[in-house]
């Protein structure tokens, strides 16, 4: 580890490793810092991704894939089952390996990587000019022209730069997940369970990982977890629905389902991935978005270094390109999230009935959302904007 780099990236999740990779590829000297002992562990994620999006940011390696997914199955509060075949292929990944190899790919491009390196603050003169890190128990200062905050849900990098990044209780999903054996559900579909008893202000998922293994987890809105935490909801669901499962791992986690952050760059600073609230507020999915944003951010950081101009004005190209790619859509998804949030169990049953009345080939994502918003048809325009 040197004392100075062009670019320092905080956090080695998909966002961090991908920004490090593209910044290094553009010729910058890059250091990627991860607080944990190992990259990829623990996995706080259901590991589902769409092939189409992932392909745009990385060459997919077969051994990253645990299970190919051909569709989704929705379970209504009363137990109605709506099957939807997807045109797009999905995967349930093995993020332990995926995250690790993304960091490896960044290193292949020349990035330095350090684990057990917990960033504690920013160095600042007129602008951000480096980080303070606890590396293997010793405090070090590392100078940098650009700092990229890719420090996930627990991000503090933005706050240290003066950006308000904390989220409202309404906009956080508090999650618990088990990876378990013997789940008696179709294993090439992702399953979603809805209902106030199951997961208020959120949903429960079952994402199969092959050979009878699956990620079973749920997220509930922070507004509902005051009296009963996510883990209790999950325990209750498991004991009533899958009493015979063997739980191999339990994790907790959080997902921001918030409006897009207004500020994601400052002089010498960029935020990417969960740190920039780039998850989809309806699904909570954030892997591909994080990587799409990180590819842009890494490239812009590399170019800015070459041009010797790391001003906010120069770096603003990143949010502009991101907005055109996915960012603007997230604003619309947030509107849809607010609508879905208010749906009662009765509304959900009616939506299930509408979908069950449709022939299989009509059950597309657009039609699913259209059926959900029958009470507010003005939202149909928004649905068309994000799905077509």
């Amino acid at each position: 580890m040197n004392n100075r780099y062009d670019v320092v990236v905080v956090g080695a999740g998909p966002a961090g490793s991908t920004s490090a990779r593209f910044a290094a590829q553009s010729g910058a000297s890059v250091l990627l810092l991860e607080k944990d002992r190992e990259i990829g562990i623990p996995v706080r994620c259901a590991e589902g991704v769409g092939e189409k999006g992932l392909k745009t940011v990385v060459d997919i390696r077969p051994h990253w894939i645990k299970q190919k997914i051909v569709g989704v199955i929705f379970h209504s509060p009363s137990g109605k089952v709506v099957k939807v075949q997807s045109k797009e292929i999905g995967y349930v990944l093995d993020r332990k390996i995926f995250d690790y190899e993304l960091a490896q790919i960044a290193a292949e491009q020349g990035a330095h990587v350090a684990t057990k390196a917990n960033v504690l603050g920013l160095l600042k003169k007129e602008r951000v000019c480096g980080v303070v890190v606890d590396f293997l128990g010793e405090r070090k200062e590392i100078a940098a022209d650009i700092v990229i905050g890719a420090d996930g849900i627990e991000s503090r990098v933005g706050r240290w730069a003066g950006i308000k990044t904390h989220v409202a209780l309404y906009d956080i999903e508090t999650c618990a997940q088990v990876t378990a054996m013997n789940i008696p559900l179709e294993s090439d579909y992702c399953h979603f369970f809805f209902g106030k008893e199951i997961a208020p202000g959120g949903y429960l998922w079952v994402f199969p990982k092959g050979n009878g293994l699956a990620n079973v987890g749920l997220g509930i809105s922070g507004e509902f977890s005051k009296t009963k935490p996510a883990i209790r909801y999950l325990e209750e669901f498991l004991s009533t629905h899958f009493p015979a499962v063997a739980v191999l791992t339990t994790v907790a986690g959080g997902v921001t389902c918030a409006p897009p952050l207004k500020t994601i760059v400052e002089d010498g600073l960029l935020l990417v991935g969960d740190a920039a609230h780039q998850t989809n507020p309806v699904s909570g999915g954030g892997i591909v978005n994080a990587m799409v944003a990180a590819k842009i951010a890494g490239r812009i950081a590399g170019q800015a270094i070459k041009e010797n101009n790391v001003s906010k004005k120069r770096l603003m190209e990143y949010p502009r390109l991101w907005d055109d790619a996915e960012g603007k859509k997230l604003g619309i998804f947030y509107k849809l999230k607010k609508f879905i949030y208010d749906m009662t169990d009765n509304d959900l049953e009616k939506t299930a009935d509408l979908l069950l009345g449709m022939p299989m080939e009509k059950r597309t994502l657009v039609n699913i959302f259209k059926s959900a918003v029958v009470k507010q048809p003005s939202l149909i325009i928004d649905i068309l904007k994000v799905f077509t």
């Binding site: 849900i153 991000s155 989220v167 209780l169 999650c175 922070g222 883990i231 907790a252």
Partner: protein, 63 residues
């Protein structure tokens, strides 16, 4: 800033160090390490962290 009663305490054996509490803290008063969590002095005991913890690993100690 109005300060609530008591102090926030985290229960090490329950905590999974997932950082959900950090995301909702309005005062940047929680410091996370791989296997450690520190409540900083600037905490105002607003309890948002207590409410969102997926494992109920945070509580208010009001002695």
């Amino acid at each position: 800033m109005e300060k609530g009663k008591g102090m926030i305490r985290y229960i090490r054996k329950k905590c999974d160090f997932c950082g959900t509490c950090v995301a909702v803290c309005p005062h940047d008063a929680i410091e996370l390490a791989e296997n450690d969590l520190l409540i900083l002095e600037r905490c105002t005991v607003c309890k948002k962290c207590v409410y969102v913890c997926p494992l109920q690993a945070l509580e208010v100690d009001d002695e």
